[in-house]
């Protein structure tokens, strides 16, 4: 079975969304800082089991300073969300709860992965302490620069979506 799923990747300016995607899709990383403009779409097919693949159509949305202002039409029909924050910049995760609530209202029931990126910039104990202190729960801590946990993140989401698809197919039959 081969299914295609739309994934929206969003977060504040400069948290490394484009770099994460680039690391996953092209397996490379550019140190040049580049603010993505509007939306950029890339695709990567993930093998989730011997017979099944999931084509992830990744919508890399431009960085924002207010998640509520994300263009709603870009979120339409999305099957998964990756919310990225920068562990080295608290301003990018201080209103995470509010942001996730706003997203859940816009696209209810969509599997969301919360990702703290740029862990190569901060000592792991410091990251743990800061996130615990602020009560921030996350799904993955990644580094687009070193590639740490990047593949795991996308592959995990692909598996969730494949299971969802199986479940829906089962219900229909």
């Amino acid at each position: 079975m081969n299914i295609s799923k739309k994934i929206v990747v969003l977060g504040y300016f400069g948290v490394g969304k484009t770099s994460l995607i680039r690391r996953f899709v092209e397996n490379s990383f550019s140190n040049d800082y580049k603010v993505s403009i509007g939306v950029h779409i890339v695709k990567k097919t993930v093998q989730v089991s011997t017979d099944d693949t999931v084509s992830l159509i990744l919508w890399d949305l431009e960085g924002t300073d207010d998640i509520a202002s994300v263009r709603e039409s870009y979120l339409l029909g999305t099957h998964g969300i990756i919310y990225v924050f920068d562990v080295s910049r608290p301003s990018t995760f201080q209103s995470i709860e509010k942001d996730l609530e706003a997203l859940a209202k816009k696209v209810p029931g969509v599997p969301t992965q919360v990702v703290g990126n740029k862990i190569d910039l901060v000592a792991s104990e410091e990251v743990d302490a800061t996130l615990t202190e602020k009560g921030i729960s996350f799904d993955y801590l990644t580094s687009a620069k070193t590639g740490e946990k990047v593949n795991e993140l996308f592959e995990h989401l692909a598996k969730i979506l494949a299971l969802d698809a199986e479940r829906i197919k089962g219900k229909l039959q």
Partner: protein, 267 residues
């Protein structure tokens, strides 16, 4: 009072004025040094001068450097004719092709306008002239690609393609993003983006409730061609929605339907 004290008193009397002067110089030197070491201060003093010089330089470029640059360019172009042609050829080629396509479209439409119904009947009986046939052929529109796309997610449901292109799933995603962007920009509700012109190609977009169809066309896209494309789209969509469980049909099935409907169609 010893000898040294006496000399000091004498010095003070003789060099009183000089010491004030030296002190002033030292102060000014200190100010200068601070200015030189402080980037901001130095920049506030130097920038206006540099700017003024730059302005003068800008004004004098055409007169002073212009002839040298022109001469150098001429020599370089003469020396590297092949490289220059190679660089310019694709751009000029495209421009000329686009211009010719546009002119043929105008010519074809002009001919059609000027032919009376009587002329058309006469031509049909006699068979059209070779020239007209060639012009019509050149002006004709071809379907290059058809994409059936989910309206909200932009996911590709099915496709038919005459030519090899980059990943169709990515194309349908980008088309959907462009569509969303344009439709959001013009806030009026229920308006849809219907046509995108891209160099020698036209992308006709027909929106339905849950899907939209994008038809990529080459050649001159006349009103007649548009009418025919719309008929083909509606015809296909009607057949598609009549298929049992059309929403869950696999891509291969719909691809075949698209090929049957749009393949070998002359516009």
């Amino acid at each position: 009072m010893n000898e040294n004290d006496k000399i000091q008193i004498l010095k003070d009397i003789l060099f009183a004025e000089d010491s004030v002067y030296i002190e002033k110089i030292a102060n000014r030197l200190e100010t200068l040094e601070t200015t030189l070491n402080d980037k901001k201060k130095l920049s506030s003093k130097v920038d206006p001068i540099v700017l003024e010089q730059l302005e003068e330089f800008k004004e004098s470029i055409p007169a002073t450097l212009g002839p040298t640059i022109t001469a150098t360019l001429k020599v370089e172009i003469q020396k590297n004719k092949d490289e220059v042609v190679e660089a310019i050829y694709p751009i000029l080629g495209k421009m000329i092709k686009k211009y010719i396509a546009h002119e043929i479209k105008l010519l074809s439409e002009k001919i059609n306008r000027q032919l009376s119904f009587k002329d058309k009947v006469k031509a049909w009986y006699k068979g059209s002239s070779k020239k007209r046939e060639i012009i019509e052929n050149l002006a004709s529109c071809h379907i290059e690609q058809v994409l059936l796309v989910e309206k909200d997610s932009g996911l590709l449901k099915a496709s038919y393609s005459n030519t090899q292109t980059i990943d169709e799933e990515m194309i349908s995603g980008m088309l959907t993003a462009i569509k969303h962007f344009v439709e959001d920009a013009f806030v009026t509700k229920d308006q849809n983006l219907e046509l995108i012109d891209y160099e020698l190609y036209h992308i006709h977009l027909q929106s339905f409730k849950n899907y939209y169809i994008a038809v990529v066309l080459s050649g001159t896209y006349t009103t007649r061609a548009k009418d025919k494309v719309q008929n083909l789209i509606f015809d296909f969509f009607e057949k598609f929605t009549r298929l049992e469980g059309y929403r869950t049909l696999d891509m291969e099935n719909i691809n075949q339907q698209l090929a049957l409907n749009f393949g070998n169609e002359h516009l």
